[in-house]
């Protein structure tokens, strides 16, 4: 689960990590009051799950009240990578001496965390030339490693002490909340050599959420995703018009790739998992039917033990119940495919022997 900035900062505060004074705003009225409390200048920051806010103009500085409301409106309306903000964070401006980069990130191959530190903060870490990386065991950072890291990026005296405190607190958060990533970019060194987290990007291991009921309130899922989750499906909404359904994440990803190769645009990724029964397929079609932009449905099912006629029945039921009215292109490898073909004759659904054939047909239809 990707936490948005203000949520990450709430966690930071719980762990004693300093963040700029600020408020989450839902309305203009709150903005004026909050800015007055903070004192101008203030910063308005769009609350999004996507990166690149700065470049996209979704972080704005306000010098006085006359700028505040227009800028608030501007941000609320501004889409970044197709996403509208979930509120605006208003914060005090802090006096910055310099900026650092600091993150803990799960290094999958090393089966540990990596601590990454750089003296260049505020830019994408991948484009930073000089950075220091340490392996950190899953039970957390030690003082010695933190001190080494500080030394390697040239921190001294009081700043190094602030860094030690800051990094140990962040490590504690990462370990206790089972984060896959906690990134502070930038962490600001203030004039008194203390450290403040100007941004917060925290990703929690979804599979560990059952141990973290306290984080449940940060979950943000659409009605559609909720429904999909309830049925045990994985759903990712994409921006095209061909819905792609299949059994297995890899298979569905592969199908999306092949659709894209022939110029088609996938509108959804739906993996209904291991159980391909009449009910699961019907349920998957119900979820898809809620996505308005969908013009066709591509089913790619690799079974072995799947009975093709059960899938055909689910598709017919979905038409009969007016759940869907768009054509279905299906590649179903499994038993009883002749029977299934006969069942679907006369409907808007068609069976294909290979996924390539199904994809050619759907792309031709939709383009």
């Amino acid at each position: 689960m990707r936490l948005i900035e203000y949520q990450g900062k709430e966690l930071f505060v719980q762990y004693g990590i300093r963040v700029p004074a600020g408020f989450l705003l839902d309305s203009k009225d709150e903005a004026i009051e909050a800015a007055a409390k903070l004192g101008y200048p203030v910063v308005l920051k769009s609350q999004l799950t996507v990166g690149g806010r700065g470049k996209a103009g979704a972080i704005l500085k306000c010098n006085g009240e006359s700028e505040l409301l227009p800028k608030f409106d501007e941000l609320m309306k501004r889409e970044v990578k197709g996403e509208l903000p979930r509120g605006i964070l208003i914060e005090e401006m802090v006096d910055i001496k310099n900026e650092l980069y600091l993150s803990f990130f799960l290094n999958r191959s090393r089966r540990s965390y990596s601590l990454i530190v750089s003296a260049e903060g505020g830019i994408e870490i991948e484009s930073v030339g000089s950075k220091t990386i340490f392996d950190i065991p899953i039970d957390g950072l030690s003082s010695r490693v933190s001190q080494d890291a500080a030394r390697q990026v040239g921190l001294e005296g009081k700043t190094a002490a602030s860094f030690l405190d800051f990094s140990l607190k962040l490590s504690k958060l990462v370990v206790e909340k089972e984060a896959e990533l906690a990134e502070v970019n930038p962490a600001a060194v203030l004039n008194d050599d203390s450290l403040v987290a100007l941004d917060a990007k925290v990703v929690i291991d979804d599979n560990a959420m059952f141990r973290h009921p306290e984080l449940k309130k940060y979950e943000h899922v659409s009605e559609l995703e909720k429904q999909a989750e309830k049925s045990g499906f994985s759903l990712v909404e994409l921006d095209g018009n061909i819905a792609i359904i299949g059994n297995g994440a890899g298979l569905v990803m592969s199908t999306v790739d092949m659709v894209t190769d022939v110029g088609g645009k996938a509108g959804s990724f739906l993996d209904f998992g291991g159980r391909a029964t009449t009910e699961t397929i019907y349920e998957a079609l119900r979820v898809i039917s809620k996505i308005k932009r969908i013009k066709a449905i591509l089913v790619n099912l690799f079974g072995g033990i799947v009975k093709t006629n059960l899938v055909a029945q689910a598709i017919l039921d979905a038409y009969k119940d007016n759940l869907i009215d768009v054509p279905v292109y299906a590649r179903i490898s499994g038993a009883e495919s002749d029977k299934a073909r006969a069942m679907l004759r006369g409907s808007q659904a068609k069976l294909y022997d290979t996924v390539e054939d199904a994809i050619q047909a759907v792309a031709k239809k939709v383009s």
């Binding site: 899953i138 560990a208 297995g248 994440a249 890899g250 990803m253 592969s254 690799f302 072995g304």
Partner: protein
């Protein structure tokens, strides 16, 4: 790397073994809906399931297979060294430790949704005991026409000289099916798992078959997320891997920072991107198929090249 770990010895054995092709396997969670369905299918395929474990159901039996309350008893009575795990994710950590404490040398961890921390803890625990884990979130392992531990269907697989390693379940079936139809049977197919943390990872998997003489070629099915393919490509070059390798990678059109079904299938920046994997494979001389159906063609090409 532990060179002595012989997965074929554990799953099949050698001809002089009394239990050759009948190595004893325990199923943890045998009475659950998934565990029971697949225990039936595994047995039908030839797997010698000698016991199941479900706490509280010790003394009962499942289709003639004795059920034990715990792993200590199950291992003591059966001598099994391999466990197929079908327990729900929240119980995975304790079940895996129990198996390892009692001498299990190979865990095949089917459950999805295991927390990262638990996987890492189990792997540390296994390492200290000279054991390995396949998965979690794996379809399992199959030695075609001999035995299988996992949830894969039987039909796509056929005995032969190719090995398939896959991060995705259905793609393992799909690719193996394509291979079988093209005449490339399989010596072993092993699901690496769709999670961020994998027990036997790609490099360890390649180590398992590196010196097995009747393995003629390897197909590796990957997907976006992590850097397993990148590290594998380096390994192949650095160690001068002796067998032809062909790859497939799913997810090249997936958006960044979106989890594509598998917990592990997510791209952060360039970390985990398909481009990065393609580039590394290209440098390592590993052809990458555009579609699963293209895999056998690339493999045939690769083998011809070697013959010449």
């Amino acid at each position: 790397m532990n060179q002595e770990f012989d997965i074929f010895q554990l799953l099949v054995g050698s001809e002089e073994d009394e239990d050759y092709k009948r190595k004893p396997i325990i199923i943890q969670g045998i009475t659950g809906s998934f565990g029971s369905t697949h225990s039936r299918l595994m047995t039908a395929y030839g797997t010698n399931i000698v016991g199941g474990v479900t706490p509280g159901k010790g003394g009962q039996s499942f289709e003639g297979i004795p059920i034990f309350d715990n792993m200590a008893e199950a291992v003591k009575k059966t001598g099994a060294k391999v466990s197929g795990m079908f327990v729900p994710a929240p119980f995975f950590l304790s079940a895996a430790k129990e198996a390892l404490d009692n001498g299990i040398k190979l865990l095949v961890a089917v459950p999805e949704h295991v927390p990262i921390r638990d996987s890492i803890e189990v792997l540390d625990y296994a390492k200290k005991r000279g054991a390995r884990m396949v998965g979690p979130n794996t379809p399992g392992v199959i030695i075609p026409q001999v035995m299988k531990v996992g949830i894969m269907p039987a039909q796509p697989f056929k005995d032969g000289g190719t090995v398939v390693f896959s991060r995705s379940g259905t793609l393992m079936y799909e690719v193996s099916d394509n291979l079988t139809k093209a005449g490339f049977g399989q010596k072993l197919c092993l699901g690496i798992g769709g999670d961020p943390i994998n027990g036997i990872n790609l490099i360890e998997a390649f180590e398992l078959i590196r010196n097995i003489s009747d393995v003629q070629s390897v197909v590796v099915v990957g997907e976006i997320g992590g850097d397993a393919e990148e590290l594998l490509a380096d390994y192949l070059v650095e160690t001068n891997f002796p067998k032809p390798v062909v790859a497939y990678i799913a997810g090249r059109s997936a958006p960044k920072e979106k989890r594509m079904g598998h917990a592990g299938a997510i791209v952060y920046g360039n970390y985990g991107s398909a481009e990065s994997k393609f580039l590394k494979y290209e440098r390592a001389g590993v052809p990458v198929a555009k579609r699963p159906a293209e895999v056998p063609f690339l493999l045939a090409q690769k083998l011809d090249l070697r013959v010449r």
